[in-house]
């Protein structure tokens, strides 16, 4: 592996990892804000409990997104200095604006929310969470504007070999971004939906398993109370059934949202990145059919090896153009076009090192694009279907006693994560060999493009990149274990783990047995809601 490949692995690993935390942050943040609003308006105790419990899990996850996000901003300059030099005039602005207009808002108002339970009036405290959630969504917008410019460069002119922004409106309303933003936000909500559904299912199951909740002759649930464990009362039942239903509904709505926006993205991709479209299909020849299953050597550069086993005619045309007859170009017809427009061999420029003069591989790695595309749709659809089934199964108020079904619900949490990761891997790998993909629109600026091979830092050695790849991957792996273990612990503990005021440990004899009203045991001049 040379520096370029190491840098690409590093970017891929750190970004996919970062984007495990981010969708949960965005989606769960919105859900918690809605729940706290419900508590604010109704004053029902179960909404407060839900706010505290889901809020706690939100924070455990949030911090990982923050911590790994800094790496993202720094590594453009560190590992991709030529890229940074080339695109800085247009790409830097959304990044700077993301920090200035979104990250400040998110971090500051979340700090107020975490520590301000007692200092702020309830309405203001709630407003702080909403502002932080809006900040998260805004950061998604800015970073996707930046990413979309790499997919579909607009609003620039070439000056001295570099694109220079001439039309900020075009950059910030890039149609690629305008559909990718809602797609990403719905994808994030899908993650939150599955998260609520799986965890709530687990708790309803445990209440049944422990005999707290029982089922009457008509199959309806009879919620009960377990006095041995603090907080395991009837309100606790409401917490979980409501969470389950909210989760299932959110999962279904967000899948519908990703489907509609994804469809719009497909149509843009057909115009803007035809090779990515062909690679999504592993399609060599022009055609109209969408392959449900292809066999053979999908990744073969000689793509005549690919045999579509199940193919639905017309669907690919529908994805691309909205009809059933448009011929979607395959790799074989696109290759000559790309070679003619962007050259067939890597330019003789020292920046390309050993790659100079070699043939340019315009076809992305098709195993990745073909299966990435299908995993995205498959995981997303599966999660939505599971949510629908879950609503049906729990229509009488609780979950079945089956342990396997519970495990399925819990592991189902991973499906929307998988869909998110697969979608991003597809769209980023499908752009290769370009880091800035050319915009083929006749009215566009066709010479604005950059090969990934030209983007890496020329002054940074492969050794440095290996050091950072190993260090970051190892640290990320350790922290993932810690985060998941913490999440599992707090999930198992239930609401009381986020609301110790609900009770005391049964074993803790020394503690005052009467849990006073909220904060009653604390000094009257409580200066902040101590989170640390």
């Amino acid at each position: 592996m040379d520096a370029l490949e190491i840098a690409r692995w590093q970017f891929g690993i750190t970004t996919v990892y970062h984007f495990m935390m981010v969708p949960l942050t965005i989606g769960l943040g919105l859900v918690v804000a809605v729940i706290q609003t419900a508590w604010f308006r109704t004053g029902k105790p179960e909404y407060l409990r839900m706010t505290k419990f889901w809020g706690k899990l939100f924070l455990i996850n949030f911090i990982m997104g923050v911590a790994t996000g800094i790496v993202q901003e720094f590594q453009f300059g560190m590992a991709w200095s030529e890229y940074s030099r080339f695109v800085g005039d247009v790409f830097g602005a959304p990044l700077a604006l993301e920090a200035l207009l979104a990250f400040f808002v998110e971090s500051t108002f979340l700090g107020l929310w975490i520590f301000g339970w007692k200092q702020l009036k309830p309405a203001i405290h709630l407003a702080c969470l909403w502002v932080a959630v809006i900040g998260s969504a805004l950061s998604a917008y800015f970073i996707i504007v930046a990413n979309s410019w790499m997919q579909h460069p607009v609003g620039v002119q070439m000056v001295n070999g570099r694109p220079v922004m001439t039309d900020a409106w075009a950059v910030f309303t890039n149609n690629t971004a305008l559909v990718a933003v809602p797609h990403t936000l719905f994808g994030a909500l899908a993650v939150a939906g599955g998260f609520l559904l799986g965890i709530a299912w687990y708790h309803l199951w445990r209440r049944r398993h422990d005999g707290v909740d029982t089922v009457g002759a008509d199959g309806r649930v009879i919620p009960g109370e377990d006095t041995r464990i603090p907080g395991r009362d009837r309100a606790d039942y409401s917490v979980w059934i409501r969470s389950l239903r909210i989760g299932a509904v959110v999962a279904m709505i967000s899948f519908a949202g990703t489907a509609v926006t994804g469809d719009l993205q497909g149509k843009l991709m057909f115009q803007q990145q035809p090779m990515k479209m062909a690679a999504a299909e592993a399609a060599c020849h022009d055609g109209t059919g969408f392959s449900v299953l292809s066999v053979g050597n999908v990744g073969s550069k000689n793509c005549d090896d690919v045999v579509a086993v199940i193919e639905v005619p017309g669907i690919l045309s529908f994805l691309a153009k909205g009809d059933f007859t448009t011929e979607v170009k395959g790799v074989n017809s696109l290759l000559p076009e790309y070679k003619e427009k962007y050259g067939s061999t890597v330019p003789d420029n020292p920046i390309y090192g050993d790659r100079a003069g070699q043939e340019i591989q315009y076809v992305p790695v098709m195993e990745v694009t073909y299966w990435g595309f299908r995993m995205m749709i498959g995981f997303g659809g599966l999660a939505a279907l599971a949510a629908l089934v879950a609503l049906w199964i729990t229509r009488k108020g609780t979950v079945p006693e089956s342990r396997w079904l519970m495990r399925l619900a819990v592991f189902g949490i991973l499906a929307p994560f998988g869909a998110n990761a697969a979608g991003w891997i597809f769209t980023e790998m499908g752009r290769q060999p370009f880091v800035v993909a050319p915009n083929p629109d006749p009215s566009g600026i066709d010479q604005v493009f950059m090969f990934t091979a030209a983007a890496v830092s020329p002054g940074v050695s492969a050794g440095e990149l290996i050091a950072s790849l190993v260090a970051l991957t190892a640290v990320y792996a350790v922290l993932l274990v810690v985060e998941v273990k913490l999440l599992v612990t707090y999930i198992r503990g239930g609401v009381v783990s986020a609301m110790p005021e609900l009770g005391h440990a049964p074993t803790d004899e020394n503690e005052d047995e009467t849990p006073g009203p909220d904060g009653g045991s604390k000094p009257a001049d409580d200066v902040l809601a101590f989170a640390y």
Partner: protein, 349 residues
Amino acid sequence: MELLPTIWFIAIAVLWTGYLFLEGFDLGVGMLMKLFARNNTERRVLLNTIGPVWDGNEVWLLTAGGATFAAFPLWYASLFSALYLPLLVVLLALIFRAVAFEYRGKVDTDSWRNRWDWAIALGSFLAAFGVGAALALTTTGLPLNANGDREGGPMAWFSGYALLGGLAVVGFSLLHALAFLALKTDGDVRHRARQWFVRLLPVLLLPIAAWALAIQFLDGKPWTWAAVVLAVGAAATAWLLARRGSEGRAFLFLGAFLVLGTASIFGAVFPVVLPSTLDSAFDLTISNASSSNYTLGLMSIVAAFGLPLVIAYQAWTYWVFRRRVSAAHIPEAHSFLPAIAAKAFTTKG
């Protein structure tokens, strides 16, 4: 002289100053977790003084980085790639530190807390040192070739200035944190922080003063020399005020020292943003490293509204959490959940 690049040079200097001012004390508090606090309650006092604000403070770093990328892409690209390994250390330090703040109190065992306390202390130290080294090197130069790439291998950036800059920010952060703790806590911690502040001020400010002076000897202008003199005056005033027990004013004068000090440094190197030690023809300046006027103009408009807004709501946060924290306020560690958590995280041996 170009107006917009100059404005953005000043804006980036302001962002770095804001970063050092705000994160300065929370980095320092992080280091003091191991150097100053004597028991878990004191450590929790320290943590809760910065709890609501440290994350917002850290965004100043992200904004400084992002603004450099947007306004001076060539500066960003050359500086960040040349300092690959030290910045990697900064990133790892910031990751551990951030996670440690959030996770430290989530399990109720001493070994768990101790591990994260080290992550906070070392993470704060390495982040402060690395940022200081990077800032010093952007003022004194790196071995850059005509393309702006580092020559001479992974450690070619290292010089005495890297060490000086690292110590400068570590020293300042520690002192700033002592001033902050004297202002934000009560009881024994407050008292000791003030004592330490008075005793250690000359030592802790020595490296940053040396850096500012070295820059003046290299590139000083009359007004930047004056700024250094004023900065020293501000530090002396802070010392006198702290001795008299005016904690709030001592904190402010130390802040004035920082503002004047960074102004003297950035002002002296202007209009060069990153000199090349190989050939001054390869120096990056505000003219040859900047974005187009269109981009800078757009960013100026947004920043003109955005930055005052940020300062306003961050100031409001400090107002909301203005009360002093003391050991008496620290409640018992959560008794129920951490008991379960401790079981899950206790491994034999």
